[in-house]
Amino acid sequence: MRSVVPILTVVAAIILLWYGASIALNADWARDKATRAGTQLTFTELVADTWNQRKPKLPAPHQVGAEIWKTTGEMVLKGRGFSKRSLIYHSWVTFSATVLGFLLGTALGTLLAVGIVHNRTMDMSVMPWVIASQTIPILAIAPMIIVVLNAVGVSGLLPKAMISMYLSFFPVAVGMVKGLRSPDAMQLDQMRTWNASRFQTFFKLRLPASMPYFFTSLKVAMAASLVGTIIGELPTGAVAGLGARLLAGSYYGQTIQIWSALIMAAVLAAVLVGCIGVLQRLTLNRMGMA
């Protein structure tokens, strides 16, 4: 609790910096406009102008806030919360692809980890590739996957989820291998003295022992999965989703729209990772590990 004041101070400093930067970045355009109108701006007028431009280089926080409210809260009040112009709709599109990809990736990563832990051949041949693949900029192939799957006739949710799956499956695989191996020789020997089968050892010792690792890698995987979905939404030609909003915003120079999509993505990431954090605390508490 004693970190609340420092955190709030840092956040306040960031917002202050943001306002300052938006004055600095937008001042040129404001002065330009004034010279063309043949007027001189006083300092207060200049500040007021830089914070209220229609297409600023850097929109001020309150402009982004207003845009977000206009595209979420206000549309709900009008009863059109799921219209294509509302950010809720776009966030929902991104959210569903993210979660689907995340679930697929987690399942695949866990399966792979179980195989690697139990099969020496698989460990020696696959594990180095799993680690090496983390150093490869996988996101670069995202547009290709989308286009290729589109050509086969698969479109919509699934291609994006595939990219998320690809990104989220590595952290889970690596984390789970570590976790499933975390019981030490003593504990494994104890299982052997009890004449436990491999199945029993797995479900009663290895799997419970891997839980802290599991949740830590789930958080990384969720963040990676969201990034994957947003990138996956770029090459579909800006149809729907937060990534599409980013692209459309950059086509038409709608900076306020870009920033509001960015903030929504940040909120989404915070909520998703926060959910896993809560789940982690509940599970580990019940298991007596936290």
Binding site: I7, T9, V10, R120, V148, G243
Partner: protein
């Protein structure tokens, strides 16, 4: 059909060979090296056979031999893209971002108040999809490599900051007390005790940042770039359905990424030879 059978047989053979190698004790470094190589080779052979045997269209998935052809045919283009994206975009952003993050971390470290506030915020920001800043950076810094470097700076800054701040806290009270008994000044303590102690954390950050840097530079090119660069080539070639060139770019990106990461890991090994995580390995 023949291709499919050959691929299947090759797969079984490779797997059996690996299983036999994996059972041999003790596992020498040679075996540890050769097993994944065999696995990789079987994967490529199976891919080639599957593409030929099933007659998969080149647009969907080109065979490895096609990709090899494209690699050999367009080395000039690939090299130009490599220089534009990796050397100019990713590298300059990486050095700038990591350097400033370490500097800020040392500054923050002097004030406990800032540290307590900045660490949670930094951790939070490190989990955000920062890559979304790419269109904004392209708008601010224009289409050239400068905007890509800017995206990379923003992407690597927070992971690096968090790691360095954590690393600087990693010295024990005993060690710091010893420095005090020596009458060491703040800067002496920093240079001779705390920075060396922070090295494993700093290198961890550098490794994470090395992957992020390449991703940032490539993705930023999707939002606009001059007529060269890996991201530009990938997005335009996908549009022209020239998949072999796309795959060639991906191979280059993979090699560049692994080499980048491997280089950082090598420097780490040379600089943190004293750390238990490095000493354990032979």
């Amino acid at each position: 059909m023949g291709w499919l059978v050959f691929g299947f047989v090759f797969w079984i053979g490779g797997w059996q060979l690996n299983a036999w190698l994996a059972r041999r004790r003790p596992a020498t470094p040679m075996i540890r090296f050769i097993v994944p190589v065999i696995f990789g080779v079987t994967l490529i052979v199976v891919w080639e056979c599957a593409v030929r045997g099933l007659g998969v269209s080149k647009v969907l998935l080109p065979a490895p031999s096609d990709i090899g052809h494209a690699l050999a045919r367009s080395t000039a283009i690939l090299w130009m893209d490599f220089v534009q994206t990796v050397i100019k975009g990713a590298m300059s952003g990486y050095i700038l971002g990591c350097g400033s993050a370490v500097a800020v971390a040392i500054a923050v470290d002097r004030f406990d108040f800032l540290k307590r506030g900045l660490l949670p915020v930094g951790n939070f920001v490190a989990a955000l999809p920062i890559i979304g800043m790419a269109p904004i950076m392209v708008m601010w810094f224009d289409f050239g490599w400068e905007s890509k470097a800017a995206v990379v700076v923003v992407m690597v800054f927070f992971p690096m900051l968090v790691n360095t701040v954590q690393g600087l806290q990693d010295t024990g009270a005993m060690q710091r007390d010893l420095m005090r008994t020596y009458g060491a000044s703040y800067w002496q303590t920093l240079l001779k005790l705390r920075l060396p102690a922070a090295m494993p954390f700093i290198f961890n950050g550098l490794k994470i940042a090395s992957t992020l840097a390449l991703i940032g530079a490539i993705v930023a090119e999707f939002f606009g770039s001059p007529v060269k660069g890996m991201g530009f080539r990938i997005s335009t070639s996908v549009g022209q359905l020239a998949m072999d060139l796309v795959w060639a770019e991906i191979v280059v990106a993979a090699i560049a990424g692994s080499a980048f990461y491997g280089g950082v890991a090598l420097v780490e090994k040379a600089m943190t030879f004293w750390h238990p995580s490095q000493r354990g390995r032979t």
